[in-house]
Symmetry: C2
Subunit: 417 residues, 2 copies
Amino acid sequence: MSAKNAFYAQSGGVTAVINASACGVIETARRHKDQIANVYAGRNGIIGALTEDLIDTSQESDADIAALRYTPSGAFGSCRYKLKSLEANRREYERLIEVFKAHDIGYFFYNGGGDSADTCYKVSQLSEALGYPVQAIHVPKTVDNDLPITDNCPGFGSVAKYIATSALEASFDVRSMSKTSTKVFVLEVMGRHAGWIAAAGGLIEDHDIPVMILFPEIDFDQARFLATVKEKVERFDFCTVIVSEGAKYPDGRFLAEQGTRDAFGHAQLGGAAPVVANMVKDATGYKFHWAVADYLQRAARHLASKTDVEQAYAMGRAGVEFALAGHNAVMPTVKRLSSNPYAWEVGEAPLSEVANVEKFMPRDFITEDGFGITPICKEYLIPLIQGEDYPPFEHGLPKYVTLKNVAVECKLKPFTI
Amino acid sequence: MSAKNAFYAQSGGVTAVINASACGVIETARRHKDQIANVYAGRNGIIGALTEDLIDTSQESDADIAALRYTPSGAFGSCRYKLKSLEANRREYERLIEVFKAHDIGYFFYNGGGDSADTCYKVSQLSEALGYPVQAIHVPKTVDNDLPITDNCPGFGSVAKYIATSALEASFDVRSMSKTSTKVFVLEVMGRHAGWIAAAGGLIEDHDIPVMILFPEIDFDQARFLATVKEKVERFDFCTVIVSEGAKYPDGRFLAEQGTRDAFGHAQLGGAAPVVANMVKDATGYKFHWAVADYLQRAARHLASKTDVEQAYAMGRAGVEFALAGHNAVMPTVKRLSSNPYAWEVGEAPLSEVANVEKFMPRDFITEDGFGITPICKEYLIPLIQGEDYPPFEHGLPKYVTLKNVAVECKLKPFTI
């Protein structure tokens, strides 16, 4: 069998370690040139495949590819673009196969979350039907940690470490100021549907910080929340609140949607943090501060979890190894063998069981009152934030790589998406 | 001369490295037990002195005092409490002297910004007049970097490193998503009067990131701002905006004060970041994200500047050395000898010249268009963020110290502040 080319694309929101997976894919492929001639990356994700905008990764030096391991963001560009169902848009699937054919692509590595697992699965099912078999492998990535089967998702451990560290540091700050100043600190974190990231904030409880968490999985009970804040402040003189962007009222409205209007009557897009902070102020009069970490949390490669980086790389490498072993329509997974001491190995899941399944926080990971995490949740989380893996610094700032991203020559007619 | 005790207090907003100054004070005092018998710290800053709530630092182990060097926040508690003028409140100054007398305190080390320099100066002037001479030394601290004479203030370098790193990482994130998603990222940073922290965000320009800064020193020109954002997005497909919390309109109104009302008609305390982000969205339709770093930035000891930590420690040590050499009413300073290679030494400033002087960004540190920083500003900033000085980690989180903070027995009647 002559060597085929591979296609690799990054999908959806990027993370601190998605490039470590890219590094794992490309470095492993480079060690198997007899089977994988070259890796073409999609510029801006799957859009690059559809528009035949492919990046020739062979133009990048080994050193630059190695630097992907410690560079956050998506080095080739990512996109939020979900392929519709085959019935609704057969044209796009056919185009993908056309591009794969034109560039002799026999392997499709798709690095993303739930939506891209679904796309990847469809590609695996379709390609043979369309007369051009491609092995489709999904490489898991999502800060939301909501993919099924895998114990955890690369990207999550680093956000968890960042949020727990930041919440700890800010809480120390508030604790030292609470006598005359701030008593309540509210930190908003990502996670529209699942509260995994918010849960990580709960780890600071073991550092003597009074902390409350507002999960998307638990309906927000304003009266009980305010009473508990008061109780904590009366006891500790301060309190930290971690609020998920997806926290919502029993009627389904997000906390962040307050129907707020600015001076000109425009609807104001608020965050959940200022809403919660002002709510506390109105009810108790406590001084507050709030922060919205937003992209800072998922881009914070400077504070990545070493475990997360290793797993992200391992998922990329395993994806290529599965492909070389002839597997199709699968996703490498993290399989936990033990929590303490932590041990894991690479597992494998069929994409048919991954696509369109979302994993929420189990109820027994959340304390009965709904505002904290339980010991089994801590046992789950702690290994994932273990270890530091600092990037190199130059002139005081991290020295991240920007690739050359040279385009492969087009062979087809333009395609409009 | 028999050994006297020293009083040390932390004042105002805490930083990632104010405890490194405390460490410098206490470790240096411990090496001179013949002259300084013990260091008493004020619990919650100067309030601890007024209420005779003193902490006996001799109860802390050498290891715990050494751990202050890498622990953010104020280990003894800080406060926002400005002593009024002598005329308005002679009672409080007299009380301070009474407490100092009762506890045989001959040295007053006050670790803070501009307000505390003023208090420290008054104490130095007063103590002799009240018949109990105390040597008063101010140890500089402020993330705002607005103290005069000293080249920079301990606390600032670490915030600057954090903001530049975070802005760089988030900008990489936005750059990889801009094709289909976020094009404008807005990061709000501290600095109500002076734009030093915002300026640090400008350092990412040298990493090929299109960045704009909104300084408190430059009146906000909305039309020109929006036009420049558009220009940058058209050219680079994305743009990062660093907005100082103190950015304001020509009429003096803060951008953050939008007269916003929530659904119940309550005034909504917004941040400047969501205001700017929504303004961009309304004018251009670009997708945006915004973050408010708030306490995260000044507490981020995990990413402290090594230069900043060393200087914070050196200021504490020099304060004690000045006192032991018989100086009074002075502040140690950082004196820059050269920028490239960076060299500095400890200087000394009379408090009469420090008190009530605020140092703003020089106009020639800001580009002519008002949205960027100039090469001389970069030359000033870069040395201050040099070097990393990571805290130890345990179970995935920084291992910061919480002191025992044992109270000294009271000798006086209670005092109401």
